[in-house]
């Protein structure tokens, strides 16, 4: 809760929470109120001047896409899926990463050499390439869409970044365990469970929050990449769209308005009507920026923990003018334990 006193953290939190709130408001309430964009636009003389997609305007800040839907509200609607996916992936990573990191720090320190070279392989290959590799060998279309596929995909997204995270957490804990108070606690007979509960977890808690925001940023980046490579989370719906000329065209739709799906499916619009792609891109930048701000705020909170107390003490001691000879009020009596 101390983190909320930090400007950066609070700003980032408000942006992210605002996006989510708007998204939920939209799907439960605003959806029925906001009018659909018009299917045709006429000018004063009553002549047809435009059909969707419309370029961005004041009424439709991100424009209107080919299916006649407002991109802005599509993006808002997709915010909850995207952000929750990123949060879920980073939560999974962190949960496994913490367990693995503790195991590594306590039991596997002898295999440090091996662990580091294994992790190097994971770090070296871009996460998106690993993800594609994992997705390439399972035929997703055959399994159909739905929760099962989605969970599998989320697990893959979590696993591709897991080993480096384990190593980071493990090394952090291993350094922490060399502190004198930990060593003396161990000498007095504390076992590993006690050490983890009383020393490691309290130390790791703020750092885990920081890692959580960082991992969320990483997962969001991974989602953008997935969008660019047209890999969709949760499967796709394929409909046959015909414009009356030529054979019906296969058009894939994301099941939700998830941002990476919005980017991936309309990538070819980039050369035609850019705003259809720009909308979700802007949304991604805003979301990543928000989580980065939160991370920066947390970093400051963790680093500046001791500083603020010191400054307060100095202020209070210099704020009060000392009288000579000292009176009883100049002293503060404390209970000596």
């Amino acid at each position: 809760m101390r983190a909320f006193r930090n400007v950066y953290f609070t700003t980032g939190f408000i942006i992210a929470a605002g996006l989510l709130l708007a998204s939920f408001l939209y799907s439960y309430w605003l959806k029925d109120i906001i009018p659909q964009p018009p299917e045709w636009i006429y000018n004063e003389a009553g002549r047809l001047v435009d059909v969707p997609p419309y370029p961005p305007s004041w009424v439709h800040p991100f424009g209107v896409d080919r299916q006649g839907e407002d991109v802005f509200w599509k993006v808002i609607d997709g915010a909850k899926y995207t952000i929750f996916t990123a949060l879920a992936v980073s939560l999974l990573r962190l949960a496994f990463g913490t367990v693995g990191g503790i195991m590594y720090a306590f039991y596997l320190q002898k295999f440090r050499f091996i662990a580091e070279s294994i992790v190097r392989a994971f770090r070296f290959v871009p996460a998106i390439f690993l993800t594609m590799l994992f997705f390439a060998f399972i035929p997703l279309e055959e399994q159909g869409a739905g929760m099962g596929v989605l969970i599998k995909q989320l697990l893959v997204l979590a696993v591709v970044a897991l080993p480096p995270l384990m190593l980071v957490i493990g090394n952090d804990i291993a350094v922490f365990l060399q502190n004198e108070f930990v060593v003396s606690s161990r000498l007095m007979g504390a076992d590993n469970v006690w050490l983890i509960r009383k020393h490691v977890l309290p130390y790791m808690r703020p750092r885990l929050f920081l890692l959580f925001t960082q991992q969320t940023v990483q997962s969001l980046l991974l989602l953008v990449h997935l969008g660019a490579f047209q890999i969709l989370l949760g499967g796709v719906k394929v409909i046959y769209d015909s414009d009356g000329l030529g054979p019906p065209e296969k058009v894939a739709f994301s099941l939700s308005n998830e941002w990476s799906g919005l980017i991936g499916l309309s990538y070819r619009e980039m050369m035609l009507d850019q705003w259809i792609v720009v909308g979700p891109c802007v949304a991604f930048i805003v979301a990543i920026f928000a989580f980065k701000l939160m991370g920066k705020g947390l970093e400051q909170v963790i680093a500046g923990k001791g500083k603020r107390k010191q400054r307060k003490k100095q202020w209070s001691s210099s704020g009060k003018p000392a009288s000579f000879p000292p009176q009883q009020g100049d002293f503060e009596f404390v209970l000596y334990r």
Binding site: F113, I114, E116, S117, I118, R120, A121, F122, R123, F124, V125, P126, A127, I128, F129, L130, M132, L133, F134, A136, F137, I138, V217, L220, L221, V224, H225, G227, A228, F229, I263, M270, M271, Q274, V277, C281, F284, I285, I288, F289, K292, K296
Partner: protein, 293 residues
């Protein structure tokens, strides 16, 4: 004696990493069978197959189209060289941009410094894909407005160098700029700087002669993160720009595990050597042995 040991650790490190790459690929092929014990046998078979494919590298062929097969090595060498040239170019460019930027920014007055840092922080949160998207759009926009094609944004059959290098290097150089600037600010408060300034040396002299050298160590030790970041940028750029680089090649051959394994190993090799060399340089500069890995 010590040198032998070093060479041995480097070799072991290298082999382990390549084995891990093979294991990842074998796992990717077998994990969909997860609950059944079949998974283990498939995994082991695939792993062995990948392992032996490294020894028969000359016999592997890739299918370029339905009817056309070609030996792997001769087809891979061209995209491989292309990717490496772009990566090295981008690395040099980003190093140049970052260090010059940090130097200029360091001499600016404080409020401006803060502003530049803020901008860098914001720019850093732009995903590389979107950045590359927008560069493409920007080039097209300029072309539409002025009829001036700065560079051909979509590669045809001939390889382009300038635009990809610039594009791949910008985001990493922002990252590197922040690191360098942080290193500078950390160095600034050290007593030797204060002493040098008190002696009457100019700010520029202190910066170049003393602080820069020390800050360079921090920068060098972060250079591997830069590589990784750049690789991911390159992957995206090759895909979006239709460049004929190694990642594009691997993407097309994603279903032939041997090719992917060999390609990744080949990409990994030069960078690992550079990494080790960089660590040796740092150890030489600081006199502190930090281990090779």
């Amino acid at each position: 004696m010590k040198k032998w040991k070093l060479a041995l650790t480097v070799l072991a490190d290298l082999l382990l990493t390549i084995f891990t790459i093979m294991a990842i690929i074998a796992f990717a092929q077998s994990y969909s069978l997860f609950p059944s014990p079949q998974m283990v046998t498939v995994f082991w078979q695939q792993f062995q197959q990948l392992f032996w494919s490294f020894f028969s590298i000359r016999d592997i062929t890739v299918s370029l189209s339905q009817w056309h097969n070609a030996p792997l090595l001769s087809t891979m060498i061209e995209p491989y060289a292309y990717s490496l040239i772009i990566l090295w170019g981008a690395l040099a460019v980003s190093f140049l941009i970052a260090v010059t930027g940090a130097y200029i920014c360091f001499l600016l007055p404080r409020p401006l410094q803060k502003m530049v840092k803020g901008i860098a922080f914001f720019l850093e949160s732009i995903p590389d894909v979107i950045f590359i998207f927008s560069t493409q759009l920007f080039v097209i926009w300029v072309f539409k407005k002025t009829d001036l094609l700065i560079v051909n944004p979509v590669a045809g059959f001939d390889n382009v160098y300038v635009l990809p290098i610039v594009m791949i290097s910008i985001l990493p150089s922002i990252l590197l700029f922040q690191m360098t600037f942080l290193a500078f600010t950390e160095e600034k408060d050290k007593p030797y700087v204060e002493y040098a300034l008190a002696k009457g040396l100019s700010k520029t002299a202190v910066l170049w002669r003393h602080m820069f050298r020390n800050a360079l160590i921090t920068v060098f030790s972060n250079v591997q993160y830069l590589f990784w970041f750049m690789l991911s940028n390159l992957l995206v750029a090759e895909y979006l720009f239709n460049m004929h680089g190694l990642f594009r090649f691997l993407y097309e051959q994603l279903h032939t595990p041997e090719v992917v394994a060999i390609g990744l190993a080949m990409l990994f090799l030069p960078f690992y050597i550079i990494d080790v060399a960089g660590k040796r340089v740092i150890a030489y500069l600081t006199g502190i042995e930090r281990g090779v890995a």
